[in-house]
Symmetry: C2
Subunit: 482 residues, 2 copies
């Protein structure tokens, strides 16, 4: 196969006319940062975990303080803020014509997920937070510097001020390296998106308790640990275009997989499709598929009988998809010390990405995928995504068996990662990156597209092109190269 070749300023470089990402790849320099190594970080993180007294108990909906079912049967907060559990009626012809109604999380306001960057001895470090969320399987995970709903920073829930938020807005803001709105899980949220920001500062930054500076290489290593780097961190990390490694660096890499992945970061090594074509295919899928969404009262969903509400949960009798539950939370180190809230408890998920060396350049197989709550019909998703709606017999994704039967030496990444613990209860997804063998066709089925890492980066400067599952895999792949 012959690849189309771009110039360095095309595609990935488009929005980097001020070169904000200079030096991210210059990791040969000795790291002189505040954290000496991963071992030290792990000790610190374990101490943080011990310092958090924290209890989460499942309670009946009637015990949720501040929450009630309104006239529509929606589960809402008395402030009118936060989020609501409402109903969504959907009709689509994706895969096959079908229509259904389901509970859905409605949260129209746009939250802020921000990571602060600062160079120590020239090496960029990212300020990460040990943060507990009520739905986390393991209490504490590593979150972005700032992870705030609009309610958080406008004070709707009367909590403490969000630390470091001044670096992301207002006169003290640093250099903006990335700033885009990105979607969240389309099967659980209606039109949800968050603002993903990376900001670099040259100011002195006070290091508060619960925060730690980490390099991209350290984060790449931590991403191989199950359920440590939280979903919000992963999506922000995916939007941080790190620029291109120097040709000199690429050429010295002996491992052909790693070399192909590094080449995938630079337009000069070419790509199967132009970015024009990658976008055209997504536009085509968006125009070709029907997706009719209508928010309806949750009562209407229950009236149809497939979903049932008890005192303690809203679920389907067959146990598919997810359950809505209520939890009571007592914690010392949140903005407020005690609260209760609903959470969505989904069945476990699987995200799989096939990658393939084509002409020496690593390509990622993405699928333009319609989900119930997607804002603009579809977004690029991983090659395989077992969402709760595809667990039934006869609905196994075509590529799933190939993914799960891949020989061990072709598995390039395999870890379990958590979905957002502020909305989801013990929601875990196995993330797999598998290198396709030569028998794997380079020509994609309709709706799929091979893209390079630099094309993924170019798409991530805009909103709603890659879904959150794809962004997790891209963050894991990319940070694993540092």
């Amino acid at each position: 196969m012959t690849l189309a070749h771009g110039t360095a300023t095309q595609a990935a470089g488009e929005l980097h006319d001020h070169g904000p990402a200079d030096g991210f790849w210059d990791f040969a320099r000795p790291a002189g940062g505040p954290v000496a190594g991963i071992a030290e970080f792990r000790h610190w993180f374990a101490r943080q975990a011990r310092a958090h007294r924290y209890a989460v108990d499942r309670v009946p909906f009637s015990a949720l303080s501040g929450w009630h079912f309104d006239a529509d049967g929606d589960l809402v907060h008395e402030s009118g803020g936060f989020f609501a559990i409402s109903g969504l009626r959907v009709r689509t012809d994706f895969r096959r014509p079908r229509a259904w109604a389901q509970p859905v999380i409605v949260q129209p306001e746009i939250g802020l997920l921000g990571i602060l960057v600062k160079r120590f001895d020239g090496v960029p470090h990212l300020l990460m937070q040990a943060k507990m969320e009520p739905g986390n399987v393991n209490t504490l995970q590593l979150s972005p510097t700032v992870q705030a709903t609009r309610s958080n920073y406008t004070g709707v829930h009367r909590g403490r001020r969000v630390p470091y938020v001044e670096y992301f807005m207002g006169p003290r803001r640093g250099t903006v390296l990335a700033d885009s709105l990105q979607s969240e899980q389309g099967w659980w949220f209606l039109h949800k998106r968050n603002r993903n920001m990376v900001v670099e500062t040259r100011d002195e930054v006070p290091l508060l308790d619960g925060f730690s500076w980490l390099t991209l290489a350290q984060l790449g290593e931590l991403l191989t640990t199950d359920n440590l780097v939280n979903m919000d961190s992963r999506t922000v990390l995916s939007t941080l275009a790190c620029g291109e490694p120097a040709p000199g660096l690429v050429d010295t890499v002996a491992d052909p997989y790693r070399r192909a992945a590094l080449r995938s970061l630079a337009p000069r090594y070419g790509s199967v499709h132009s970015l024009h074509e990658v976008l055209r295919r997504l536009t085509d899928s968006r125009a070709r598929h029907e997706l009719v969404q209508r928010r309806v009262p949750l009562r209407d969903v229950l009236d149809e009988g497939l979903w049932r509400r008890t005192e303690t949960g809203i679920a389907r009798p067959d146990g598919r998809h997810f359950e809505v539950i209520g939890v009571d939370v007592r914690a010392e180190r949140r903005e407020v010390g005690r609260w209760s809230q609903p959470l969505v408890a989904p069945v476990a998920g699987l995200s799989g990405l096939f990658v393939k060396r084509i002409d020496g350049v690593l390509h990622l197989l993405l699928e333009a995928r319609v989900e119930a709550g997607t804002l603009n019909v579809c977004e690029y998703a991983p090659s395989v995504q077992c969402s709760p709606s595809h667990q039934g017999a006869g609905e196994r994704p075509e590529l799933l068996d190939r993914l799960l039967s891949a020989p061990r030496e072709r598995i390039r990444y395999d870890a379990v990662q958590s979905e957002e613990g502020g909305r989801f209860h013990h929601a875990v997804t196995r993330n797999l990156i598998v290198e396709a063998d030569d028998a794997f066709a380079a020509v994609e089925p309709e709706g799929y597209c091979w893209v390079t890492l630099h094309q993924a980066q170019a798409l991530l400067r805009h909103s709603n092109y890659l879904n959150v599952q794809a962004r997790t895999l891209i963050a894991c792949l990319q940070l694993g190269l540092f």
Copy 2:
């Protein structure tokens, strides 16, 4: 002011790695196309107008064949297709906190607007159609080659096949020069978007009655005529990135306004902001503003008393915004010979664009603007846009007086253009481009942004960055340069 300078391949060039737009600016060559000149075109168009026997009569809703008010009070078609007049409840803090409910057109499916391009003697010609729409003030306007709702080409309304559609999809498709989803009027539509395509073919193309080949220069001239080039044509034309005029061409232009406009098409002449910053500001506005939308039964809107429904119309007693009416249509040359349908009849609008020569490069002043039915909070709009909701006393846009009091020599464009005649009845908007004087601040108020033409082109390769009013003005400005 010093401008940031890009390279030719940055920004505007990003998606042109296959150079599909080559030669659009090479208009020095003699046009050897099928239409000798504008005079001939006007004769042809007048003949087309005479050949159309066509009557549109306002009728009561009860006389609309195939349409009825459903249990929600929504005005719907019996097929479940086409579109519906439903209700929309909105809450936003744009300009000032407010909440309201209004009728809205709901049409979730994505229509196709396509212009076919073919070179005659090397000069690109665009295939345009003389098409009547029931809401047009003057019966016939110039539309894209293909202007089809999804119902049109999937046959929901049992009409004739759409001519030339095979050049835009399927095996006969030509080279895709532009393909993106673009929004329509946010005050009248909920989340509406159409697919805008420009396709170049090398095939022999049969010229059907009612169609005509025109050059960009000819279309630029026709855009100075009131109500001739329809809204669908203007939006597709805005997405056709014509590339850059050669430096040799730019340098020979004596008129400083025209020279600045031509320089605005090429990144090498610089821009006040990087494209990164233009996008960042839009992201910031999207995250900062609240826009909560909820489709509700039209009955709920009427129940609130501000909107009233009679046998012949749905309107406000104060006459503001728009009225929903019904029309009966008899025509010989549509896909079907007779039909009836609802139309939205708005009050007249005004769109105004301030442009300014900054360091010899023309910049356009856009505002990130929230509208009731916008898909993603806000899009860039013209400097001034008097939408139906801003006609009240005390609600005059700040820049409106400056626009309307501009001395004649600073008015660079002034024509009345029609909104889509398939949905809107006699909906006309005055479009003004005014060159700002030196007293006009180069530093924008919050929410506004100076952009160049090449940056606008780069944004138009994506969806939902520029609203339909801004796209009309950009098409008029840009095509006026040929």
